[in-house]
Amino acid sequence: MNKKGSYYRYLNRIGWLYVTPAMALYCVFMLYPILSSLYLVTRKWKGFSNTFYGIGNFIRMGQDSVFWKALGNNFLFMAIQIPIMVGLALILAVILNQGIRKFRGTLRVIYFLPCVTSLVAYSVLFRILMQTNGLFNNMMLNAHLIAQPIGWLNDPFWAKATIIIALTWRWTGYNMVFFLVGLQSIDTEIFEAAEVDGASKWRQLISITLPLLVPVLLFSMVTSTSGTMQLFDEPNILTNQGGPANATMSAALYIYRQAFVLNSDFGYATALSYVIVVISGIFAFIQIRLLGGKDK
């Protein structure tokens, strides 16, 4: 009995030993920043010095329409880009899973390729491609699809479209692979039975495939949502610091700009980042609700 107890204590010590390095790093690089932000958020910066500002940063935030516009852009990108991307990815996944027999593997690899580019690399590529006198406009002009070059990067409306196009290029294949994994886990006997019952392919898709894919679809949307919430690289590089005229400014980019470009105001930037934390918390709550909260 005693021996077993001491053995348990030994294993428990091993457990602590294994966990300690990670926990030490966690305390220094995660917990401490979180706690110190509680202090930062009450300060107002000016150069080297900072002074107590109370809830002043939050009051200022309430009046900062550029920030709310930036946050609005995040939601706009979510609302438009995610459905387009998920729809495309779903179509591709279904076709690759059932629609064709040849070149499945090759096409899967090809569609996934954009994922190997870093966000910076593809933002740079798209910035060059989408310039007013760039390749994309020239191709469209030559094909007589447009009469005038489109201001993909300098028109407030088209710049938003550019971000959406770029995001879709980068992430569709990634989501498609998600869905393929989901589709492959569906038992093929269900389809065989449906075939026997005379259900059309279309009917099978609506009544069998989609309902079974709902968890994967939800999961992919949740991932994309939190990714879009943190959008930074694309508006900073592809559309030049959230331009034109803040049309593609994202919340994360605006926070960065407040801390490192405009005023070096770490207190105000921290206050703004709290908004992102709250929104992410709400999303996480919804996610747990939707996905049943069980261990995935």
Partner: protein
């Protein structure tokens, strides 16, 4: 698995055994940050060469920081000086922010014996604080309107008739003719900076801020500048680009017949040798109807500063003093070299007698003596007030301008109101 382990081993081997190609900073190395290879970087290299003749043991390490140099410096200052160089180049418009918000970061060069009476006085204003003067003035941003003479000729116009003081009205008429005949818009306009409007506003001697540092966009000069820009745009004469390098490629590749900019753009023009003989520059057009307006303005201009946290600050100060602020023949000849080599017109008055100041330049239409022209135009440049919030102001104004060009803001008053609002919100004032 073997592949993974192999891959990791190879990667680790590279990491461990490839020696860092980093230059080892010796005891007598002075590091300098700048942002444009063809311009201020080129000039600093010439200065370093002059200094090395007498001080061969000092290495001047000249490092390009192309993106957000002032942001990097500010981050370094916030981090207690980590990673900062010995000398850095600052735009004149940003320096007040550093001098006021970060007291004591620069070496007082007046105390170190620099004779500021020999520099153009408008440069000294922004770098002065409480009797101390911190920078070595570098270049002037005397401006002009640049025109492609070949497009003018194609449109049936004689370029020689336009080499004189014009008003914006006359320039607009010229643009309409060129556009009708050649299809080329008159002006390449970069939507990501404020240069175009700033040049116009400053040509009338106006400011963006009041004396107390508060924003002042409701000036006659600002309103007239925006009205002019809107009119040019309504007539289809403005070619909007989305960034500095895109703007450069627009006029260097002949997408437009001209643009408005300071003389330091010469190096960039010359980077496209096939355009030799095509460009000419005329005086900045007159913002007529605004009191104090003249056919001259200034844009940009920067100065060198020594950080007081630098380990080699004595060498750094000596380097700047004996090249950029010296009447020694070598130093004056260096000013002469960078004028021709990069279009860098120094603001050190004794250097004004160099041969290149009057020389003809074969790159320009009819070998125009561009430097003599710019030197003439720059004589009346007023002292600008910048304040620590200058960047927030330029961002707000350039954003509002773009919305006007894209038709989202209809009137000049709307544009100003929009800019004022964004300025207020991003600075929290």
């Amino acid at each position: 698995m073997k592949r993974i382990v192999m891959g990791l081993m190879v990667a680790l081997a590279i990491v461990v055994f490839v020696p860092g190609t980093m230059v080892a900073a010796g005891a007598k190395t002075v590091t300098v940050w700048y942002w444009d290879v063809n311009f201020n970087g080129y000039s600093m290299k010439q200065a370093a060469a002059v200094y090395n003749k007498t001080h061969p043991d000092v290495t001047i390490d000249i490092v390009e920081i192309p993106q957000g140099i002032d942001n990097k410096i500010e981050a370094g200052l916030q981090a207690g000086g980590s990673g900062l160089p010995d000398i850095a180049l600052f735009q004149d418009f940003i320096i007040e922010k550093f001098v006021q918000n970060y007291p004591g970061i620069f070496v007082d060069l007046k105390a170190a014996g620099v004779d500021y009476s020999k520099f153009a006085q408008y440069k000294v204003g922004p770098m002065t604080d409480k009797g101390k003067i911190y920078g070595i003035p570098f270049d002037t941003g005397s401006t002009g309107f640049w025109l492609r003479t070949d497009f003018l000729k194609q449109a049936g116009l004689n370029p020689d008739n336009y080499q004189k003081n014009l008003t914006w009205k006359q320039i607009t008429d010229l643009g309409v003719t060129v556009k009708a005949k050649t299809g080329k818009p008159l002006i390449a306009y970069d939507s990501t900076n404020i240069d175009f409007v700033r040049i116009m506003v400053q040509s009338a001697g106006a400011q963006f801020f009041k004396k107390d540092g508060s924003l002042d966009l409701r000036t006659p000069a600002m309103k007239q500048a925006l009205t002019t820009l809107k009119d040019l745009n309504d007539k289809g004469l403005v070619y909007v680009t989305e960034g500095w390098n895109n703007w450069i490629s627009a006029f260097n590749n002949g997408d437009t017949a001209g643009f408005l900019q300071a003389l330091w753009i010469i190096g960039t023009l010359k980077s496209k040798p096939d355009n030799a003989g095509k460009w000419m520059v005329i005086p900045t057009p007159l913002l007529s109807g605004v009191p104090g307006a003249q056919n001259a303005s200034n844009n940009g201009g920067s100065s060198w500063y020594v950080f007081s946290g630098s380990k080699n600050k004595d060498i750094a100060v000596d380097f700047l003093k004996s090249t950029w602020a010296s009447t020694a023949p070598d130093a004056l000849e260096f000013y002469n070299t960078i004028l021709k080599g990069a279009g860098a017109m120094g603001t050190y008055l004794p250097s004004r007698n160099g041969s290149n100041y009057t020389a003809k330049d074969e790159f320009f239409y009819k070998n125009q003596a561009v430097y003599a022209d710019f030197a003439k135009w720059m004589e009346k440049v007023p002292v600008m007030m910048y304040t620590p919030n200058y960047v927030a102001m330029t961002t707000a104004v350039q954003n509002a301008n773009l919305l006007m060009l894209k038709g989202e803001l209809k009137t000049v008053d709307d544009v100003i109101a929009h800019a004022e609002q964004e300025y207020k919100q991003t600075t929290g004032q």
